[in-house]
Point group: C2
Chain length 293, copies 2
């Protein structure tokens, strides 16, 4: 069924995601902080651009957002001219931002008081996944709201799962990042050790990637790690944003994530090497810099 929807935030993820919604036949009104980008989107896809999140959301049954940080999410929802000021009862706000679980719970509470629903729905799959419409979406919130939003989300996702009450989507994404932190560091140490030992690192990865050390990261990132190329992928500064929220959450629930905490410090060192925008696989760069004596 074609719906009137709003999409807030046309970044490298949001831009193609909103495009999939338009191609699925929905009437999409977009909002973006840089308005020229919203104009370009409308030229390509039809629909309309609104000057504020509030105006974008005013007639929408479903309001999607995909912005950068907690502060951005706060601004486009409960800020001045935020979407929450104009959303109608019975509508659903679907937040694809990777944000904190406590902000998700707070916004879900405010939405409920106002008579609409809020779903936290962070994504994984990267820019390519967004462009190809094959993202994974981890959702927290109300079952009924999830059921009504799921068909729309499926226009750009291969897997959409309700993980539990508000905040559960964000917490699931955090587990993903914790696993990746240890995994990429292990892979970086392995490749670094292989080089120091005088081995052909590519040949080593080729052999060990058939067994118990195998991972998506090994198959997809080892070649570029060996070459020292990092100008692509998921940026270190975004991984640090996520790890910061994860460490806060772990503090709150008493989880012991020593290596994730350590890897956050290692990423700080990568940033100091100029790697803020490098892919997360750049953990190997700090191992290969000249050593401090």
């Amino acid at each position: 069924m074609a719906e009137d929807v709003a999409f807030i935030g046309l970044g490298i993820m949001g831009y193609p995601m909103a495009g999939h919604l338009a191609r699925a036949g929905h009437q999409v009104t977009v909002y973006n902080r840089t308005q020229s980008k919203a104009q370009r989107w409308v030229e390509e896809h039809g629909g309309a651009a609104a000057p504020t999140p509030a105006e974008a959301a005013a007639d929408a049954g479903f309001v999607f957002a995909c912005v950068g940080r907690d502060s951005d999410l706060r601004e486009v929802t409960v800020g001045e001219n935020g979407a929450f000021s104009r959303m109608q009862p019975g509508t659903v706000f679907i937040d694809h931002t990777t944000a904190s679980a406590h902000l998700a719970r707070e916004l879900a509470g405010i939405a409920q008081q106002k008579g609409f629903e809020f779903l936290d729905a962070p994504i994984s799959g990267g820019q390519v996944g967004a462009e190809n419409g094959v993202l994974t979406v981890m959702v927290g919130g109300d079952e009924g709201a999830f059921a009504s939003a799921e068909p729309l989300i499926e226009s750009y996702a291969r897997m959409v799962k309700l993980m539990g009450p508000s905040g559960s989507g964000q917490l699931t994404k955090m587990v993903n990042q914790i696993c990746i932190a240890g995994l990429v560091q292990g892979l970086a140490e392995g490749i670094h050790f292989a080089k120091r030992a005088g081995l052909d690192a590519g040949a080593v990865i080729d052999v060990i990637s058939k067994g118990a050390a195998q991972s998506w990261q090994m198959e997809n990132r080892a070649p570029t790690m060996i070459e020292g190329r990092f100008e692509f992928g998921f940026a270190v500064e975004w991984m640090r944003k996520d790890l910061g929220m994860i460490l806060e959450e772990a503090e709150r629930n008493g989880a012991r994530i020593d290596v994730a905490a350590l890897v956050d410090q290692f990423y700080a060192e990568v940033e100091a090497l100029g790697g803020k925008r490098w892919d997360t696989s750049s953990l190997i760069a700090r191992l290969e810099r000249p050593q401090d004596k």
Copy 2:
């Protein structure tokens, strides 16, 4: 071509490996420290049992070994009644023990002086891989010796690769273990965090195992980690043996493997919890014990 071969060490790996050599048509003379096990092997497979490594090796064109530690390997090669005392010029010793790279180089040097060859050839794939004859074998040593031994090794391996000069097989296996150390710790922290956050850890793994956090360990070990079952697999005490050699080697070549070193300490804590024989995935057990205040 059927060969006269010797196999030293009929443990959970060596026993089935020697069996594959016998089934491939080779004449196998076995040696095992506990002689009753060698007798049992002969009853099942034919061939002969010898009372010492030296006597097992005396008429063999290829001598295989798969024992526990550097000290065991030293004993069955250059120790009293070791295989090296009776090996003939032109023969090849293939060592499947996971041992140190410097011992591999030392034994290769001694072998060369005596006119025969030594290949370091550690394996991965576990007991199931040995039984099904689908091991991965990482080899260091002379190309000609490798070419002559490869067809025999293939009777129990799916992948056999020459990685470089003597020691390279051991060093490659070390890279494998370094990658696994960080990876399993990341996975343990992720599952632990999921439980603390009140999520359904199995459902979380189900969702995130389709993306950038995917690994063999996640697919094969997460279910038992969630349940807290560790009575199987690759034992913590053997992983610590490997990590000990890895840390020595890293010290020697200046590789920085901070997380592998930390994980070795974590495994010491698992041993203190009674986990010496538990699978390496038991890293999660130390996270879930009551916390020290």
